[in-house]
């Protein structure tokens, strides 16, 4: 298994007028070639900040970063946090590329699609204009844009939302990166088009053995394409596990809460079980477990450290870990019943 990305104890904070915002607070994760690793969470949980850190896209001086982000650049690992701007530009697009949520604002409205794609190639291959155009057409074809030659001469407004997202994926592939970060790639799209894009991402993973870091809030999308999952809450990973364990044997109360609050097409029409309250402010995090104020299982914690100590990411299994003070065996027992009800 080739490791493509290793994030170790990443911390990102931003200075604001109201105080220091700890957007990401000690995130560690890895992505291997040929797998899709999902980062799930609600708005403000730190998932996008994590992905932007990997691309080195935070403004210098605004964000304070610590920890390490090792990106595999054709065999050698480079730490994005300690690289200078020029060195980051060198790996950006070539070793790791990114696609964004909103394909309209990521494309320049005045330039032809073909030229925008070619530009991505020329950044790393100066002067090779002909080669760049050939590559642009190949990539458009690969992502399923009909008549690539004609479409390359068109402007972004002539493309539909789904087609624009395909263009973004084509652009990300221009320099054949091994690692792709997809930040909410289908959130702005309709379900029928979403299905097309997710199928395309699956194809890329299989055909080119790419590693994909998928940022999303949609548990349905996670269930469809992810191999491993990291659930984030208030800037930290509160559970990490292979995809089946997340959905059928969750160990963090928050993960279970999310699963319970999603309306399901297959389910009976019972009342939804919402998680009460709201996510905490990232400026004044609770002293103990950040989820404690909303947690309905708190009383099961023997030492009741929930309000005083931050739980560590622990687990008896090497692949499945969660942050919770309640003994793992008790959680397994408690949550199994609830998951069974959900799937009934």
């Amino acid at each position: 298994m080739t490791e493509l990305l290793r994030i170790n104890d990443l911390k990102v904070s931003f200075k604001t007028d109201d105080g220091l915002v700890h957007a990401v607070d000690g995130v560690s994760l890895t992505v291997n070639a040929g797998e899709t690793v999902a980062v799930v969470g609600e708005s403000g949980s730190g998932k996008t900040v994590t992905s932007l850190s990997v691309m080195g896209l935070h403004k210098k001086g605004q964000a304070q970063l610590s920890g390490s982000i090792s990106v595999n650049d054709h065999g050698t690992f480079k730490d994005v946090i300690s690289l200078n701007d020029e060195e980051i530009r060198d790996i950006r697009g070539r070793a790791v590329a990114m696609i964004f949520q909103d394909p309209m604002s990521s494309l320049h409205p005045f330039y032809k699609i073909g030229n925008q794609l070619a530009e991505a190639y020329l950044v790393h291959n100066r002067g090779k204009k002909k080669e760049a155009m050939v590559r642009a057409l190949e990539m458009l074809e690969l992502v399923g844009i009909p008549e690539p030659k004609k479409r390359a001469e068109e402007f972004p407004h002539q493309f539909s939302g789904g087609m624009r997202q395909r263009v973004m994926i084509a652009m990300a592939l221009m320099n054949s990166p091994q690692m792709l970060i997809a930040d909410e790639p289908t959130t702005a799209l309709d379900v029928t088009v979403q299905a097309q894009i997710l199928t395309l991402l699956e194809k890329l993973k299989k055909e080119f053995n790419m590693g994909i870091l998928l940022i999303t809030h949609d548990l349905g999308v996670v269930a469809q394409v992810a191999d491993r999952v990291n659930v984030m809450y208030a800037g930290r990973i509160i559970e990490e596990a292979p995809v089946d364990d997340i959905f059928y044997a969750p160990l963090a109360p928050y993960t279970l809460g999310l699963l319970k609050s999603v309306p399901r097409v297959t389910a009976n029409n019972d009342r939804l079980k919402a998680i009460p309250g709201q996510p905490p402010s990232l400026i004044n995090l609770p002293v103990g477990c950040p989820f404690a104020p909303r947690c309905e299982y708190k009383e099961h914690s023997a030492e009741s450290g929930c309000n005083t100590t931050r739980p560590e990411l622990l687990g008896t299994s090497a692949t499945h870990r969660a942050r919770c003070h309640i003994p793992e065996s008790l959680r397994q027992e408690l949550f199994a019943k609830e998951v069974k009800e959900l799937l009934a």
Binding site: S160, A195, D244, S261, V262, P263, A274
Partner: protein, 324 residues
């Protein structure tokens, strides 16, 4: 009086787009002849992809935009040609909840002012006094009544949507159009707001058109579901029937595209992936508007427009309906 609170007959809304390439006038056929009835206390879910005309339909029904043709009959009164001053009296009975809780609230007004606006506009002074009435409404939707003097920016997205809901139910309307009310919210908050809407609707016996693109949410809240595509009604059916046995191929495709939070079934499930995009509503395909993306399309579909006909308990506009 029939049990239908709202009757929509062949409603059409075309937007002119100026001149086309050869100088002829072009129109965007946003809503192109839809008909249905909404019963008292019923919730109809209106679903479809972006650009299918569901929002335009909702706004035209409320006469926030003037219909091109067709009839809107609300509580046995034909309101299609009512003037705006005549509409004002009726507006107390029909309300809307908007998608974006950020742009739907005036940032310079306090919550108290925002929620009391309906009373002011209709010239009503509640018996318990406006402030008490507003605070009761706030408590009703799960907001702290002490926050009466706060401004919208001090609230989260979910709380703002509660403010929008409080404003909509202030005059005890009989009918509400909820236009994507939870699509801007996170899942854990979304569930809270859906539960609130369900409670209010049952307690106040409000009829509702719930517009959404999320089929799981719609299934949860609706008694019946109406599926739109390119301004046309494709299928209307009782919720349980539609999800268990969709008759229209478009409904089938739409349902199969929704990923479910269940990885094992996702791996084994057969998915119908529609090719291509939504055609332009300026030049919709001839015959059945769905024929360009339909895997069952035959010659007949490209020439004859299918009518919305009764198939079992559902109404379907398809020449070759499924599951019968």
């Amino acid at each position: 009086m029939s049990d239908a609170i709202l009757k929509i007959e062949n409603l059409v809304k075309h937007f002119p787009t100026g001149k086309g390439k050869r100088g002829e006038k072009e129109v965007v056929k946003a809503v192109d002849g839809i008909s249905f009835e909404l019963k008292a206390g019923e919730t109809i879910g209106l679903v479809g992809e972006s650009g299918c005309g569901k929002t335009t339909a909702g706004r035209t029904i409320l006469k926030l935009i003037e219909p091109t043709s067709g009839k809107i009959i609300f509580e046995d009164k034909d309101i299609t040609d009512y003037s705006s001053s005549k509409m004002r009296a009726i507006r107390a009975q029909m309300q809307i909840i908007f998608q974006d809780p950020y742009s739907a609230l005036n940032p310079r007004q306090t919550i108290g002012k925002i929620i009391s606006a309906p009373f002011e506009i209709q010239g009503i002074t509640p018996t318990e006094g406006t402030k008490t009435a507003v605070q009761n409404l706030m408590a009703r939707v799960g907001l702290n009544p002490e926050h009466y003097n706060r401004y919208p920016h001090e609230f989260s997205g979910g709380q703002r949507q509660r403010i929008g809901i409080a404003r909509a139910i202030a005059l005890k309307p009989r009918f509400i159009v909820a236009d994507e009310p939870v699509s801007a919210l996170d899942v854990s908050i979304q569930a809270q707001v859906i539960n609130l809407l369900e409670d209010l609707q049952q307690e106040e016996k409000i009829s509702m058109i719930f517009i959404a693109h999320d089929l799981s949410v719609v299934q949860h809240i609706s008694n019946r579901v109406a599926v739109m595509y390119l301004g046309k009604m494709m299928e209307i059916a009782a919720t349980a029937d539609l999800y268990a046995k969709p008759h229209h191929p478009y409904t089938t495709a739409l349902l199969s595209a929704v990923p479910q939070p269940d990885p094992r079934s996702e791996r084994t499930r057969e998915r119908i992936i529609l090719t291509g995009d939504l055609p332009s509503p300026i030049n919709p395909p001839s015959g059945c508007v769905f024929n360009t993306r339909c895997w069952k399309a035959q010659d007949k579909c490209r020439t004859d427009v299918p009518q919305l006909l009764q198939v079992g308990g559902s109404q379907v506009a398809c020449h070759f309906p499924e599951n019968i």
